[in-house]
C-alpha cells in the first residue's frame, strides 16, 4: 500500500483544479495488472484528456505510486513498472525539445503511449464482458452440482481404533534386521603364484624391483603374497633382498645371500666409472 501525495500538495491551495491532484491519492499496487493499468487509473481517476496527457505530472505521480511498492515486488514485475517510468521520462524529455507550434499527431512523442493506453483500455472492456459472462454462467447449475448424499449408516464401518491400539499394533511390527555388511570375495592370491612370477622374471633379468611383483594388481593380498614369496625364495638361497635404508625401494637379486637391512651391500658394477658417467649424461636427453 502506497500513499502517494503530490509534491507541494500541502502548499497548493485547495479548490484550484482537480487536475492539479490536490487530493492525495491512494494507490494499492497489487490491485494493478501492470504499468498500463496503473497509468490508465491515474489518467481516468483525474479526468485527464487521454489525447493531451500532462506528462510531467503523470510521470511524477507514476513514480510516487510505484516508489513504495517496488521492493516487495518480484524483480520481473518491478522491471515492468520501471520500464514504464523510464519511457515516461523519455517522453517528457522529448516534449521539452524545441518544436514547431503545430504538430501532426503522429509526431507527438505521446502518440505511441496513447495508442497503447487506448488498446489496453479497449481490452479492459472485453475483460468486463468476460467477467459478466463468467458470473452469468456461474448462475447455471449442471447435473451433479448438489453433493452426493452421505452413504446410509452401516454401509461404512466405523473406525474403532484407539491410539493405544495403534501403538500396540505398531510395536508388533518386527524390528528390521541389522544391515549385513557383505564384503565381495577377493580372489585368493597364492604365494606359489608369486614364486613362479619371480622365477620367470629372473630368466630375463638379474634384478627385480620388489614392487613390480604386486604394484600392477594394487591389492594388499598381492603385496603380502609377494613378500612371503620373496622371504621363501631368500630362505631357499635363490635370491637376496636388498634395501639401502628403511622405506627405500626393495630390490631382489638372483643368487643367494641375505642382505641385512640398513647396511647397503657393496654393489659390484660391471661397468667402469667413465661408462656410468656417460650413461648418466644420456638420461637427460630426450
Amino acid at each position: 500500500m502506497t500513499l502517494a501525495t503530490e509534491p507541494g500538495a500541502s502548499t497548493t491551495p485547495r479548490g484550484r483544479s482537480p487536475l492539479e491532484g490536490v487530493e492525495p491519492f491512494l494507490v494499492e499496487l497489487d490491485r494493478f495488472q501492470g504499468p498500463l493499468d496503473l497509468l490508465l487509473h491515474l489518467i481516468r481517476s483525474q479526468d485527464i484528456d487521454i489525447f493531451d496527457i500532462p506528462i510531467a505530472r503523470i510521470t511524477r505521480q507514476f513514480q510516487l505510486a510505484i516508489a513504495g511498492g517496488l521492493d516487495e515486488m518480484p524483480l520481473e514485475r518491478a522491471g515492468e513498472f520501471l520500464e514504464m517510468a523510464a519511457s515516461l521520462i523519455r517522453i517528457k524529455a522529448q516534449l521539452l525539445l524545441p518544436r514547431p507550434e503545430k504538430l501532426a499527431w503522429e509526431e507527438d512523442p505521446r502518440a505511441e503511449l496513447v495508442r497503447r493506453l487506448l488498446e489496453y483500455e479497449h481490452f479492459q472492456d472485453v475483460v468486463h464482458v468476460l467477467e459478466r459472462a463468467e458470473a452469468q454462467r456461474g448462475r447455471h447449475f449442471a447435473k451433479g452440482y448438489v453433493a452426493d448424499r452421505p452413504a446410509p449408516e452401516g454401509m461404512r464401518p466405523e473406525l474403532e481404533v484407539t491410539l493405544a491400539d495403534l501403538l500396540e499394533a505398531a510395536s508388533r511390527i518386527p524390528e528390521p534386521p541389522p544391515p549385513v555388511l557383505v564384503r565381495p570375495p577377493s580372489k585368493a592370491v597364492s604365494v606359489e603364484e608369486k614364486v613362479s612370477l619371480v622365477r620367470r622374471l629372473f630368466e630375463k633379468t638379474k634384478r627385480i624391483a620388489f614392487e613390480r611383483l604386486f604394484k600392477p594388481w594394487g591389492t594388499r593380498a598381492h603385496a603380502t603374497a609377494a613378500f612371503l614369496a620373496a622371504l621363501e625364495l631368500a630362505r631357499q638361497q635363490i635370491l637376496r633382498i636388498e634395501q639401502s635404508k628403511p622405506f627405500a625401494p626393495i630390490w631382489l637379486f638372483a643368487g643367494g645371500w641375505i642382505a641385512t637391512v640398513g647396511e647397503p651391500p657393496e654393489v659390484e658394477l660391471d661397468a667402469e666409472p667413465e661408462q656410468v658417467v656417460a650413461a648418466a649424461e644420456r638420461v637427460g636427453e630426450p
Partner: protein, 185 residues
Amino acid sequence: MKPEQIVEATLFASQTPLTAAEIARADDELTTAAVDEAITRLRETYESEERAFQIYELGDGFQILTRPEYASYLERFDSVPRSPFLSGAALETLAIVAYRQPIGRIEIEEVRGVGASSVLRTLTDWELVEVVGRGEGLGRPLLYGTTRTFLEHFGLRDLDELPSPDELPVVLSGLQVDEARDEES
C-alpha cells in the same frame, strides 16, 4: 420412441455438454439434424412449461442447466468443486487471445505491458487456450487460440456472442489511433 425423448434422456444423463453428433450416437436412426430439431422442440416445451432448467448451447455442445433464477436456492447446498472465477491477469490474457487469435505470447505482452508466459501456461493447463499453430517470425513462435472449454466456461455458444470490437465502449477506430497503428506496422 420419439427422437425428442432419446435426446432428452441423453442430455439428462450427461454432466458435460454434448454435441449433436455425440447425441446422435444414441440411436442409429438419429441424425444430427433430427437432434437439432428435437432440441428446439424440447426448449420450447421447457419454456412453455416453466421448467427450472433449460437446454443451453455451450461451445458446440448442448447441456441441461438450471435457470439462473434458481441459483440462490442451489447455492445453499454443499457443492462439488466448481471451476473458480478467473484472475484479472487470466481474464486480460483471454480477452486479448479471444479477439486477436491466433496470437503469439510477445503480442499479448505488448498489449498488456507485462509478461504473459506463466499465465499462458496456466490457461493452457486449464484448456482455456491452446496452441493453434506457429507464427512466421523469428523462432516460429507458438500461436494461441481459445478452446471449447473457453466457450463452456463463459457460457458462450461461439465467439460471435462476444461484442464485436467496434461495439465496445472504447473503440479503437479513432483517426489518430489508426494512424499511430499504421505507422507502427
